[in-house]
Symmetry: C2
Subunit: 160 residues, 2 copies
């Protein structure tokens, strides 16, 4: 699926701004890697990005792709799909439920809501495929991680 060029350009500009604002270096690799994901709605994995970028930068290495992808994630410019950045996790809760996922530590907690169980999906979804189940995924920061970050920032301030 190809993206609207205007939107793609907008994303690219936002990216450059973000780099400058954060004082991060803007290399050709970073630019191409970003363009590769920004120009698509396919949510590629590292390997696919690598293949795509190689077409224009034949010398990029896979590790640079990995490093850049995580760097982009840290910058808040891309996100990862799913709850964690690593291992597969399993769910034996067969009753209807929804997930809260901590974007720091990966903690995943179920929550329940009859209202959310009754969501009505737009018709465009049926055009993609048959629907098996639907759930709401809330990403945020759990209390434990929030406390830890507050403590850390106090330490950096030097207790002013």
């Amino acid at each position: 699926m190809v993206l609207d060029p205007v939107e793609a350009e907008r994303r690219l500009e936002a990216f450059k701004q973000a780099c400058k604002a954060a004082g991060e270096k803007l290399t050709s690799q970073r630019l191409e890697i970003f363009k590769e994901i920004a120009a698509s709605e396919e949510h590629p994995d590292a390997e696919s990005v690598y293949r795509g970028v190689r077409a224009r930068l034949p010398n990029v290495s896979l590790d640079t792709v990995y490093r850049t992808l995580w760097w982009l994630t840290k910058m808040g410019i891309v996100t990862t799909l799913g709850p964690t950045q690593d291992r597969t996790r399993f769910d034996a809760n067969l009753t209807r439920h929804h997930h809260f996922v901590c974007i720091r530590c990966g903690l995943t907690r179920d929550f329940y809501s009859e209202e959310l169980d009754r969501l009505v999906l737009p018709e465009s979804v049926a055009a993609i495929g048959s629907i098996e189940r639907t759930q709401v995924e809330v990403k945020g920061i759990c209390h434990a991680c929030a406390r830890k970050e507050q403590a850390d920032s106090r330490n950096l301030d030097g207790g002013s």
Copy 2:
């Protein structure tokens, strides 16, 4: 988080029934591995399950845990969190959107809905942590995979 013992027992029975119905063997390893995930709402990864099961079956091997976990998934008794069972995927779509994920091939397609953008979460969520963003995750089978499965089952029928 510990689960209500009554619910845990109910899950256990459903599991045994499912095994019998499918003509699958019920080994002590499978039982303990299932109990390990069913008794928790923590959505553990393979390594955690392994550690937990070892307390009661000191000889289980990690590979059995992996095999059993995927077997349970195939049986429809557990699910995996996130879109795919493998690599991390990245998302550069910063505009508000939702996901359709094909449980067969992993295809992930964005879709949009102003109504879903305005979801009201239950208050219980705020008790878990601060909310960063919310999106709906629809799991189903994409048209391409549906076609393929239909073709496969026709072949098995022997063209009756």
